[in-house]
């Protein structure tokens, strides 16, 4: 029986194989940077790496859900700016406001915008890229309107508010703690709840999902709602971290988030995306941002290197997938 040993040899799923490839790639990059600057793997540098990557990671979770439904959300950079600006203005006006309320305010505002995108995409059947592009411009414009073009600076924010991003819980920076909580909740939600599984079903085969009676529109709406809420959360964290709110905050940041998702193996054509891959994709981008200042390359090369690494990771992904597919075909032939 020649099939059996072949089957047994495949102890890894294709996605897991790809994630293993990405993990090896990350280790290789890490080793290369470490050889160039031994500070890279120090505790303090690793801490700042994860602190600086936490916001990207939080956003990537929402973006993955949207991508899984075959959508995309370009409005998140603008939502970060708007919620950041509004909470900063609130905090400037009411310095005694508990930080928890500021976070809640951001999440709620973000969810309102997410709901609007969700209605456009799920109810009115507007193409996601167009709907969220429109939202991006509207929300960015609103940011300038509410701020009157002014920035909110550090001295106008209460220490309690800034401590959202600088404080620690059990010795770990709050941003990292919040990101970990978001990931645990997301992992549970995606794997073990009916709604989570259905979002994937809708993304991998919308027609089949519709025929089986899944509330397709409601699930797509939900994905944008969650993305909006996470963007609102990220907006508050961003402003607390950098202690400054300005109209052009996080401009173009949506592309970093989408890049993190795609590096992590989330498919733009929907239905595919795993939390572990997402973590790897986010960490790879985080390493690039953290390591390039450490290895003393000319700024002219920095962007190029960043692009090359992303391309190399994606090509690795494609090669691994092609190999496994060819493998599967070969097996079928036998």
């Amino acid at each position: 029986m020649p099939e059996k040993p072949l089957n047994q040899r495949k102890f890894l799923q294709p996605e897991q194989l790809r994630e293993l490839g990405l993990l090896l790639f990350i280790l290789a990059i890490g080793l290369a940077v470490q050889l160039r600057n031994p500070v890279f793997l120090s505790i303090s540098n690793i801490t700042s790496l994860f602190t600086n990557t936490a916001i990207l990671g939080i956003l990537a979770v929402g973006m993955m859900l949207v991508l899984v439904t075959r959508g995309i959300d370009l409005s998140i950079g603008a939502i970060i700016a708007f919620t950041g600006m509004v909470t900063a203005l609130t905090v400037a006006r009411f310095p005694g406001l508990p930080p928890f309320v500021a976070i809640l305010e951001g999440i709620i505002i973000g969810m309102v915008f997410g709901a609007l995108s969700g209605i456009l995409v799920a109810r009115l059947d507007v193409l996601p890229i167009i709907a969220t592009l429109g939202m991006m411009n509207v929300v960015r414009g609103l940011t300038y309107v509410v701020s009157g073009g002014q920035w909110v600076s550090s001295y106008q924010m209460s220490d309690g508010f800034k401590a959202i991003a600088t404080g620690k819980l059990f010795g770990i920076n709050n941003l990292i703690v919040i990101a970990i909580v978001v990931y645990i909740v997301a992992a549970y939600y995606i794997r073990h709840t009916r709604v989570g599984r259905r979002i994937y079903a809708v993304g991998s085969n919308p027609e089949a999902a519709e025929i089986s009676g899944l509330p397709r529109r409601r699930l797509i709406f939900l994905a944008y709602l969650i993305m909006g809420g996470l963007s609102g959360l990220a907006g508050v964290l961003w402003v607390a971290k950098f202690a400054s709110a300005q109209g052009n905050t996080a401009i173009g940041y949506e592309l970093n988030v989408i890049a993190a998702c795609i590096l992590g193996g989330v498919s733009i054509s929907g239905g595919v995306g795993r939390i572990f891959g997402l973590i790897l994709g986010t960490v790879l981008l985080g390493i690039l941002n953290n390591a390039l200042p450490l290895i003393n390359v000319s700024p002219f090369w920095q962007m190029g290197i960043q692009g090359l690494v992303i391309l190399a990771a994606v090509i690795t992904n494609v090669l691994v997938r092609r190999n496994t597919e060819r493998d599967a075909l070969r097996r079928r032939a036998i």
């Binding site: 600057n37 500070v39 120090s42 303090s44 540098n45 700042s48 600086n52 940011t143 300038y144 701020s147 073009g149 002014q150 920035w151 600076s153 550090s154 001295y155 600088t166 961003w238 950098f242 202690a243 400054s244 300005q246 109209g247 052009n248 905050t249 941002n289 953290n290 390039l292 200042p293 450490l294 003393n296 700024p299 002219f300 920095q302």
Partner: protein, 342 residues
Amino acid sequence: MKKTTFLLIILAMVLLPATMAFAAGTKDDGVERHAFIFKNTGNPYGDKQMQGFADGIEEMGFEAITRAPDQPTAEAQIQIIEQLIAQKVDSISITGNDFDALQPALRKAMDAGIAILSADSAVNPESRITHINQADSEMIGRTLIQAAYDMAEGAGEIAVLSATSQASNQNLWIEWMKKELDENSGKYANLKLVRIAYGDDLRDKSVSETEGLLQSFPNLEVIIAPTTVGIAAAGRVITDRGLIGQIDVTGLGLPSEMAEYIENGSCPYMFLWNPIDVGYLTAYAAVAASRGELTGAAGEFFSAGRLGEFSVVKASDGGTEVLLGAPFKFEPSNIGEWKSVY
């Protein structure tokens, strides 16, 4: 018959916009109109500059038009220039998003009889009468090195955190910093410029670059950041990591952004010119230029209201410029009154 109606409609379609443009152009009720274009909207520094310009123009009894595109690109500014040409303004002063790319649009405006000046960030000498510069680039570069020398108490490692590697004003200041170090190698023998990092005026990248500097150079004494996003990001990192007193930050920044870090000691002092005055000076230069009283030749004089007399001098790019003056020093004793101004 049908053909004539069709032709008439075509004619109307062609003429309508033309007459509208004509109407816009002749909306001239005798009041001179002077325009100012900043880099992009939503920048408090630019708002102050435009406010200063409008103050100056209105003080002389004219109408001020202040415009800024959404995105800091040359293309967006070219669109605004085209609109202003159609409106037949008397002068355009521009904070250029690109040194050369605006030339065709600005030459077109010049051909239409509009006086063109650049302010704050220059356009090339062929497309301007003269440039209104905040402060002498040489003085800024030298002053910042002297500040670093003072903060490092004469010895130690210093680093520069700039905006983008392509920003012409940043690069010019950095050139002068290096020159100051080279020309006084005796005085600065123990002061070592270890790295020039670029934070691209983005908060997240500026923070990563600052952290990179701290990790790579454990003995770093001073960070010079001649850009407001960079200096505030550096102040933030120093404050967060409890390095106040060990590493000092200085450079150029908005008082509002830097108030906290000047008050908490992470930045002993820093510099900036007054953007309101840059705008105000530009207003007087623009009016003089539109009347032909200012032709942009080195050695010319003109008066600028409350700021007094100014002269045109040669600029390092081959053209001429007008210098506002020495940068203003912000320190713990005066930051309180400035932080709410800009």
